[in-house]
Symmetry: C2
Subunit: 332 residues, 2 copies
């Protein structure tokens, strides 16, 4: 129940007396109940859940009160019956739902739970490491040959059999010229070089996220070297007290030295946990300072349009001596 | 470009002169461009896309103008530069984003594209049928034995190798007492009877969705009979001009005759296309009238808490003689 208490403290800090938590990951984080459909955690002094009939049984396994609702108006009624002075809604709430919930009370829009979730507890670190272990073991069990889609299918199969609930995201296997698009979808082409594989597993709702690029020949090796150099410098800086944007700056600096500043077309990394992408973002505009026990990805990439693309992504535990959680070699 | 024209006609019908389309499926439906991250289609007389740097290349393959944005404020500026009188925003837009886009113009919140998407064009019906064919063929290739998670992994593997971009949703394989929860997650238990398998494939972003229940023994056979009876009556009514809620009423009626009215704990079905669940919902409160070339699922279920659960789900093309698109037998 400490998380609920910490969350309600955040509500009071914002001069509010209620928060309507609607993001399923946040509800899970605070209550241990994972909604299968729309649900609300009404965060007041004595917090309670509002769920649909489908979820009542599941929700009752949590240690807080559960009320069933049929339509959004039921939730609004319940909120108004408590006569809140000022309510926090989450930025992710769809406006369609919001327009049915808003009442005569004052409100602000603020993500208060994201802040809490950034710092991982011991058990969360264990779950994330377990997800990563499944992903890495599964990678070792497959052979990178044949058709892109089959490699992705193999990897996802092994992850599931090894205990992953589901792939953390659609596994990316792109090769040859298609690798120059960081978001290319899996095709039925036979692999060419280089091969970018970006994949992750799920353990108890916690995700892993890793990328490896298989290269061939001196030119490709050289680009991989640049990425490894950049990543090494990035990881070194990933310490408590450092601004998230600073890691991006350092890594971009290394890549620029080699003349590829225009080819690193995405941000340096992102927090990971109950979502694959969660705060903090390691990007140029992120002012958040890193803290101990955050987990972030560090993923330098170089993409040359019409030619090829490369990316290396590892998961880092922020501490005085930043720890790379991956055990898979960077060159494979 | 007809879809864009039809969509803009909808805007004018609502006495507006602009719609900000933010739902990725709707952007894809109208332009053929599938955003990999946040994007906006500004639907005005001469519509254009606003995308992030990651998506510029991809977006330029569409036949309309593309502008890059870095932050939501850039989009707001662009909107205001056109001095719209009244703007439509979509209900799915997160309030966090909405609060950055709203300006001095009037606005309404309305889903105008969902209406268009309900009626499937010929090519869409073909894609949905292809997704279904992949799902059914893949099912025939696996053996329902061993551990639940392995069956799910097998099915997803075969779907991907057979051309599915990704599973339509996390494949459900639940058996024995766990089948009484329609949303139970896959476990590492060896299967028991009955076995509920709910799965779907994806073809060119279009989904399929099917459920089969494998039963054993007379008691289970009897319940399956009730579902098949209910489904048959439901499908018969799935004709143009019939209210969506009426199918739910008819099917619920059959199940009630057998005394299981409290055990059919979800709605009768849902539209399917670029989303697994899309309008119309076949539920008690849905006033939409069915029209020719809608595609819906019809999925009666009986769940007896602590004992077992059953569900049969097929995909139906609405027409004068409603057509079941599935070819897999209901009893397997």
């Amino acid at each position: 129940m400490d998380r609920l208490k910490d969350a309600f403290d955040k509500v009071l800090e914002k001069d509010c007396d209620m928060a309507v938590i609607s993001k399923n990951e946040n509800i899970f984080y605070l209550t241990g109940f994972k909604p299968s459909t729309r649900a609300f955690l009404i965060l007041v002094d004595e917090p309670f859940l509002m769920v649909t009939s489908m979820d009542v049984d599941e929700a009752e396994n949590s240690s807080i009160d559960v009320f069933e609702f049929k339509k959004s108006e039921d939730v609004k009624e319940k909120i108004e019956s408590l006569s809140p002075m000022a309510v926090i809604f989450e930025p992710s709430l769809p406006i369609g739902t919001f327009s049915k919930l808003k009442g005569s009370f004052k409100f602000i829009i603020e993500d208060i739970i994201g802040d809490l979730r950034m710092i991982k507890e011991k058990v969360e670190i264990e779950y994330i490491k377990k997800a990563l272990r499944i992903a890495e073991e599964s990678f070792m069990e497959i052979r990178v040959q044949g058709v892109e889609a089959r490699i992705a299918a193999d990897l996802e199969y092994h992850m599931k059999v090894n205990g992953s609930m589901k792939p953390a995201f659609d596994t990316i296997v792109t090769s040859g010229v298609r690798s120059s698009n960081p978001h290319a979808e899996v095709s039925f082409n036979r692999i060419q070089t280089p091969v970018v594989i970006d994949w992750g597993a799920t353990w108890r709702y916690y995700y892993s996220d890793t990328t490896r690029t298989l290269v061939m020949g001196e030119d490709e090796e050289e680009i991989l070297d640049i990425l490894l150099d950049a990543q090494k410098e990035g990881v070194k800086t990933a310490k408590p007290g450092v601004k998230a944007s600073y890691i991006d700056k350092v890594m971009r600096g290394v890549i620029s030295e080699y003349g590829y500043e225009d080819n690193f077309i995405h941000s340096t990394g992102h927090g990971i946990g109950l979502e694959v992408h969660e705060p903090p973002s390691l990007s140029a505009n992120e002012d958040i300072k890193l803290e101990k026990n955050m987990i972030v990805t560090i993923e330098p990439g170089i993409y040359i349009k019409g030619k090829f693309g490369f990316r290396i992504e590892d998961m880092i535990l922020i501490k005085k001596n930043p720890k790379i959680l991956n055990t898979l070699p960077s060159r494979i």
